[in-house]
Structure formats: structure tokens, C-alpha cells
Symmetry: D2
Subunit: 294 residues, 4 copies
């Protein structure tokens, strides 16, 4: 199939390369010409604007940094919706707020496009390995059409319901993740401060009711899990500033819905403080630095 890929950053680049490997023909665009080059070197076409990129293709995939980017790239006078052929399948893989996702999908449908929101989890590692999880919002029919394409880039493709629900699933999961990571950071650091061996405590929590992904797979205490970021100075992994971005999205979605999220809002603040302390580029498990002084 002929696929347009728009947005070639750390995630978009390896995702596009996995589509190539599966034999798809790619046309690419990014506002940074340098990012385009890696892919034209591999034989991809390229376009001089998002709109031109979206012309005459079967599928458009976008991977953009924020809600306003998605809104303008799709809805502007010279945006994708004005340029793509009707019936093109539109797949937005950006992580953005559910309301924007629904607005854009609504306008897309009004112009008889198929559109899904399909934010990912799995990080750059998953993007390289083609093992991402896609959380998909949209009609069942569009979901089925998108599935074989997404399967070139990911392993789990989950239908979350109608338009915007991919975003809801992503940000609500990540809010839980952030709170549970801080819960683990507080529990581990306090147990150590009160005299327990951190590995022994992790072993107990992980076979008990306190267990969570952050404690049994990605423990923030150095030395507890060999291949976790905590055991290599919090390098690699999922950056604290990216977690902060998702927490900002989810707390604003909660405000718009007039729904309280006491611990979600506290987590957003703690990551804000952590980022302000200069640790935004470290893996998000480094939040334990608020509790455990080195």
C-alpha cells in the first residue's frame, strides 16, 4: 500500500522503517529536513508539506508532538483534510487530549475519511523492535482496516471503543503508572530508611498486594532489578518530561470533565518539581530522587 508518514522523530522514524520492511511504499514529511533524509536514503518519496504528503495515498499516519500540532496539520486551510483523497484511512499515533482527537475525527468523518486515533506505548525500544502496543479509538470497521498496517509496527493492537478512546486509554493508564511509580518510590525508600534490605522488601511486595508493574518490572530503587533504568543511572527508558506531558494531558482532561483526580494532580506536581530540579531527561523512575538522597 501507499502510505504517507508525517512526523519522523524518535518514535516516527523507526515506525516508518518497520513499514518499509513489510513492503509498503512510503512518502514522508517532517518540518525538520534532516529527519527526512534517513528515510529518503532508504528509498522513500518525500513531500514538501504535510498536505502534499497526504495526496494520492491509501493511508496517512501522523506522529506529532502535541494537540495543537494535530489540530493544525489536519484542520488548517491547507491541512490533510483539504488535501487527501476521500476514503483515505487516517491514523493519528500522537498522544494528545481526547477532545482534540474527537474534534479532528468528527471533521474527518464529515468529509468521508476513515479515521482512528492510535497512540502507542512501548517507547523507542518497542518502536525499533516493532513490538509497540497500539490503543485504538474509532469505528470497528476502521479499526479492522488499520489493523494489518499497525501490525507491521506493533504486537498488541487493542480496540478501545469509539473516536478518542485510544487517547483515553493511554492517558488514564499512564496516570495510574505515574502514581504507582511514586507509590513504589515512597514504599521502597521508606522501607530502606526504616532498616530493610531493599531487595528483600521488593521481593515481599512483589508477591503481595503491593505489587505493580513499577515494583516488579521497573523498580526505581538502584540494584533491585538488573536491567531497569534505576540500575544504570536512570538513562534510557521513558523520560520524566514525557511522563509530565502525559500527566498534564490527563489532569486537563479530568478538569474539562469536572472529575477529581487527587493523586493524579499530586503526581503531576511532583513530576513538575522533579523536572524543575533538573531531572526532566532522566527516566521517570528517577522520581525516587525526591525521597532518597544519594
Amino acid at each position: 500500500m501507499k502510505i504517507a508518514f508525517i512526523g519522523l522523530g524518535h518514535m516516527g522514524n523507526p515506525m516508518a522503517r518497520n513499514l518499509l520492511k513489510h513492503g509498503h511504499a512510503l512518502k514522508v514529511f517532517d518540518v525538520m529536513p534532516g529527519l527526512v533524509k534517513t528515510l529518503t536514503n532508504l528509498g522513500c518519496d518525500h513531500a514538501t508539506s504535510a498536505a502534499k504528503c497526504a495526496e494520492d495515498v491509501d493511508v496517512v499516519i501522523t506522529m506529532l508532538p502535541s494537540s495543537p500540532h494535530v489540530r493544525s496539520v489536519y484542520l488548517n486551510a491547507t491541512g490533510i483534510l483539504s488535501a487527501a483523497t476521500p476514503d483515505t484511512l487516517l491514523i493519528d499515533c500522537s498522544t494528545i487530549d481526547p477532545h482534540t482527537a474527537r474534534d479532528v475525527a468528527f471533521d474527518a468523518r464529515a468529509k468521508s475519511f476513515s479515521m482512528i486515533d492510535a497512540p502507542v506505548s512501548g517507547g523507542t525500544g518497542g518502536a525499533e523492535a516493532g513490538t509497540l502496543t497500539f490503543m485504538v479509538g474509532g469505528d470497528s470497521q476502521d479499526f479492522e482496516k488499520a489493523k494489518p498496517i499497525l501490525a507491521c509496527m506493533g504486537k498488541n493492537i487493542v480496540h478501545c471503543g469509539g473516536a478518542g478512546n485510544g487517547q483515553v486509554a493511554k492517558i488514564c493508564n499512564n496516570m495510574m503508572l505515574a502514581i504507582e511509580m511514586i507509590a513504589t518510590a515512597e514504599g521502597m525508600s521508606l522501607a530502606a530508611k526504616l532498616g530493610m534490605d531493599p531487595k528483600v522488601f521488593a521481593g515481599i511486595a512483589n508477591t503481595s498486594s503491593g505489587r505493580c508493574w513499577s515494583s516488579d518490572t521497573y523498580n526505581p530503587y538502584p540494584g533491585v532489578i538488573d536491567n531497569a533504568p534505576a540500575s544504570r543511572g536512570y538513562t534510557g527508558g521513558f523520560g520524566s518530561d514525557l511522563m509530565l506531558k502525559d500527566l498534564t494531558l490527563v489532569t486537563e482532561a479530568a478538569k474539562a470533565a469536572k472529575h477529581p483526580v487527587m493523586l493524579g494532580a499530586a503526581a503531576q506536581q511532583l513530576y513538575q518539581m522533579h523536572s524543575g530540579n533538573g531531572h526532566g531527561a532522566l527516566d521517570f523512575s528517577s522520581i525516587i530522587k525526591l525521597y532518597k538522597k544519594d
Copy 2:
């Protein structure tokens, strides 16, 4: 062996009966005479005070409601340490603060008793079934001596390190549990408010980085897990007021150690508010009522 069992409430009663089943000879005491009767009916001896109960036995087991109770039952002029034969093995199964546990163990050792702290998890269900988890603090030697006794009442017997570490493990695990339960309550209720099917969202979180025991085993959203308290009106299970008690213990231990636990303290407050709203007797997963109006 001849075992004294002191404290025969909801947990102590079934624990004592499991010891009987394994052929041990029991002498029992409780300040409430009614609680003693069930066990004397089964052939147990009884004593008229904790001290008398602790005389001439091989092992003393206590299951008491709070730190001051433990302190006075062991350390008073007419307490266990003044009455038991030296070398008696002392096992305190109460959930109390680590400092009190260490104080009492210190005095016990000074009088050449063996002593461990062995708080439990698993609830009354686990106590009945003999499947409790014991988190044990104390010397390796004392741990080994206690193991066969504890094995009559539980399934997992974990050595957590020196005196008081059983308490540390228990309260730090439960702090993580409480925060993760609230994380799950906030994530589930927000996803539903934003338009997702709660079961679908739980399925996604549970195979992703947001998963935790509270989401995959004990989900607080009604109807998501059939045999969880949420699906039977939050009856049974682990009461909110008991969780509040553990959160109070852990936040006070953190204060004494001058260790911040931002979300732990917030969780303590939210359970306080929930209890003040009249829900203290409901299972602790009912905390979702702060977020999701019926």
C-alpha cells in the same frame, strides 16, 4: 507443643483453631470472656490474665489491636516478660509500629527470650483457611524456630530481617497498596467518565504498565471482577478503617524517620475523609466512592 494464645478476635480465633488442628496444646486468654469460650469448648485451657497465660508454655503468640496494647501486655510489671519462663519463644502477630516492635524485642532479648514480630496479611478468609502470609522480623535462629508453628496458620512465611522488619514490610506494602488502590480508582472512574467501557479499560491497563494488584485482582469498579468486593457492594474484604489504621501507622513511622511520603500522606487523608463520610466498615476498595457518584 504447649502454646499460649493471647488475643482472640476475628483473626486470633481462627488462627488458634488452626493450631489446635495441628495437634498443639493451647492455653488461651482474652479480655473479653465471650471470645475465650469458643476455644475452651474445643478443649483449650484458659488463664485469667495474659501473664498467667504465658506461664509454663513453650511458645506465646499475641494478636493485639495496637502498639500501646502490645507494649503493656509485654512490658507491664505484671506483663508477659515478667511471667514467662526464660527461653520461651514469643511471637507477636499484631500490626504495630516498628519502633514499639523493636523496643519490646529489645527488652525480651535482655531477659533472654526469643522474640519475633510476625504481622500477617490475608484477612479473616486467610486466617480461616490457614493461608495467611507472615512477614517476620527477628534473628534467623528465632525465625527457624517459629517457622513450623507459623506454618500451621499460614502458607507464606517470609523472613524480612532483624526485629521490627516484619512490621516495616507490612506497613510499607500496605502504603503502596492503598496508593495503588486510589490510583486504580482514579484511573477507572476517569476512563469511564471520558466514555470508555470500564471492563475494556481494565483489560488494557492490566496488560500494560498501569497494572497492579488493585487493578487486576481486586478492581474497585463494580462489575469488572466478579468475585471482588466491588461486585457485592463492598462487603467483606479488608475494611477501610483497617487500611486507615495501617496508613496512620506508616505515616507516623515516616515522620519519626523524617522521611517524606507525599502520596502516602494524601492517601491517609483520603481514607480519613472516606471514613468520615460513613464508609469505614466497607472494603477499602470502596474509596472509589470519592470519585464515582452512584
Copy 3:
């Protein structure tokens, strides 16, 4: 002077009437025709759109409910900036986020308008009585031009610095106010719960380091201050949902600036919970209901 007044809700209506009383000629507009009528009955002109209202006047005053309204009423293709005569003085009295205020002021200046942001405090009472406080952001020159106009509607007219600073002053002050109100609610309710007479405690705090406007002028405990909303069932005053709106503005401005506001975010959440409990229409001092059960 000839003044256009756009936005005639609870605040705008009495503000416009005070301008009339001072002899100004008014042209008015609101999307709700009913709101216009009160003023045309008093002899005001009216227009059929915001743009038409802004034509051929010396001053335009807007009083609108939110940032998107301000953005569209000023910047749309058929907005105020496209219709007003250059050199018209533009005064936006809405409470909105500082970034939007600065964007609009920037565009206004580019088209050689004078523009200030001038959010108010003092409520409908102050609007009726002409005793509002105006917090003004903009050039000194524009501030001086606006001053005599604002003086028809208010008593304190404070210059806060450049464009947007009126909004900064308003929302930062209101964040402090909300936190201090909750501080007072917690302190008063706890002192009462611990056995003190609330009036005696208020008397002590108010002559000590705990004093604040919320304790000495607007105390949330019923019966402590005779003419405070707390003493008449929390009717009248400044609604909880209006405070929630300001807290949402300030926490989002803080996020955009990557600045932590731990208690500000907690206050936003507590008002969200209070509103969800059905108390959004009560005066904001009713937040004490989270603490003190009737």
C-alpha cells in the same frame, strides 16, 4: 465618551449601568437578546454583533466568560480588531489566562490599538456599588487613558505592569485566597473538633500569625462572622464553581510555565470534589463542608 460594552451578564450589566450614570454614551451587545433589553430600556444603543458594536466608538469594554470567547471576539475574521477604528482603547475585563491576554494584546498593538487587560474583583455586590478593584496589565500610557473610565465602575485601579499582568495578579491572588480559605476551614473545623469554641479560636488566630482575609473577614465557620456567607447558608458571595474556574486557569498557567504549585493543585482538586458533591453554586467558603459534617 462613546463606549461599546460587550458581554452583559451578572457583572457586565451593573458595570454598564454605572458607566451610564457617569454620563457616558453606551452601545451594547450580548449574544443573549434578553440581556441587552435592560440597557436599551435605559436609553443605550445596541448592535447586532460584537464587531458592529465596536465600530465608531472611543472605547470598547468586553466582559466575557472564558479565554476562547475573548480570542474569537477579538481575533476572528469578523472580530473587534477588524471592525474598530484604529486608536480605539480596548479594555478586556474578563478573567482569562495570561497567555491569551498577551496574544490578543500583541495583535491589537500590531494594528495600533491601545489595549489593557483589566480583570476585576469584588463580585456582583462591588459591580452594583461601583466599588470593584481593577487589576490592570498594559502600557502606562494606556493605563492612564483607561483610569477615568474604570473609575466609574470601581474604587481601586491598580497598575500591575505590562500586558497580561492584570490576569497574573488576579489568578495568583485567587490561588492564595483559595488555599487560605481551605487552611481556615481545616484550622477552624479541627479546633472545634478538638473542643474549642470556634469564635474564641477565630479571635486568637485573627490576632496572631494565622490570620488571613478568609479568617478575619470571611470566616467559613457558621456563626463566627455575622454577615459572612457562612452565617446565611453559604448563599450569595463568590460561587465555588467560579473559584474552581480561577483555580483551573492558574494551575494551567503554572503548568505552561513549568512551575510547581503543590497546594494550588490540591486546592483545585478539593474544589472539583466539592463541586462534584453538588455544592458548586454555594459560596466558596462552603468548602468547609468537606471537613465539618453538619
Copy 4:
């Protein structure tokens, strides 16, 4: 009158000297002999224990660091209640939890002593100058007896109700103070970050609904108030660790009363974090360092 003074630290020492200045005869005791010397040099008697100090005097004043100290100094087998002559007036100026204050007062009354709790505010500056505020709990009759004595050391002597109410007033006021200080720190630092002049913003808040003692008298932003600790590197004043102690007392009293104090608990945690960052000895207004990076 013959007065025993027990506890001669930073506060007790100048308080005792002010009693001397008013012509009272003093007998003093402290566990640190060095602290006694300053006073014996001025002609005071001294005793070798608290109990001996309390013998044969008209009034006993204690100024001790914590609840356990007060409990043991008064109630131990060789404590004040066992040594003082019946009818001696007992005045405890320590800041402790209200429950301990009530326990001790209860035992004192049972032995027919008059007793009041009279914690102070005003710091070492107020102690030197004799301008302390005393918040007094106890019978009216005992309050009247104590008043002329307290007037030698302070300026405001406020009757707060029955036994323990002095402590309630002190810790509830200080909880409000701590929250309001953090409110001011968040508001000031955010206004500055968003581009306002801190002095201008303080001026507005201080004449508006956001005003509080922390903003108009003790502003935490450097340079806003000339003689505040913020303008001299946060030296002098009321130390962060002392505020942390009071917040710990008040949050524990709230837990014991099952009363939620969401922001009080958050404030306790923020001061814990601040202290852990190494700033415990700085004035409590230095909490702004959590928000404003130098």
C-alpha cells in the same frame, strides 16, 4: 513569689530572666548544667532534679521540648506531681499534643494542684522582649491566678477554654500559618515566574482577598519586606524544623480525632521534604526554595 523554672533552653532562659526582673525569686533546673549557670550567676537558686526544684514553691513553670518529656517530668514516680506542695500552681509552657496536656492536667487536678497549659508564640525575640503571646487552657480561676505571672513574660494572655485548649489554639493556628506561608510562596513565585514584579504583586495581594500574615508581615520572597527573614538569607526567625514539629503534632492530633486536614498533611510533607533538603535550620519562610530556584 517563689517560682520554680524547669527547662532553660532558648525560650526558657529569657523567660526566666524576665521573671527575675519583675522581682520574683527563682529556683531553676535543666538537665544541661551549662544552661543553669547563666541564671545562678544572676542569683537564682538551683536544684539537682525537676522534683527537687518543684518543692516548696508557689508556682512551677515548665518549658520542655516534647510530649514525652512533659509526661515523664510531671507523672514519673519521682516527678513534679509527687514532689510539689498541694495547691502549687503548675504552668506548662511547652508546645505538646492536647491529649498529653489533658492527661497531665487531669492527674494534677486529682492531686489538687491548679494547672494550666500555656504554650507561647513570638519566638526568642518575643521571649527576650517580654512580648510573648500565651494561649492558655484551664479553669478560669487558675487562668486568673496565672495571669500576673505570665504578664511578666508576655503581652497577650488569652484564655482559650478548658485544659488542653492552649495547645489546640497553638497547633491549629500554626497549621493555618504553615499552609498560608506555602500559599504565599506559591503565589509569589508563580506571579514572578509569569512576569510580575514581586513587590507589585505583594502590594496587590496585601490589599486584596489573598492577604495573610505571611504575605503582609513576613513575606517569603527576598526583598519584598525589608526586615523579614527572606531579606537576610532566612536567618533568625522561626526555624523550619520547629514548624515541622508543630505540623507533626497537629496532623497527629487530627488523626487521633479522625479529622481530615488535606492541606495540613500536605504542608507537613512539604516541610519534611524541605528539611530533608538540608534547610531545617532556616526560617520557615524558606519553604519558597521548593518553588523558586535561586
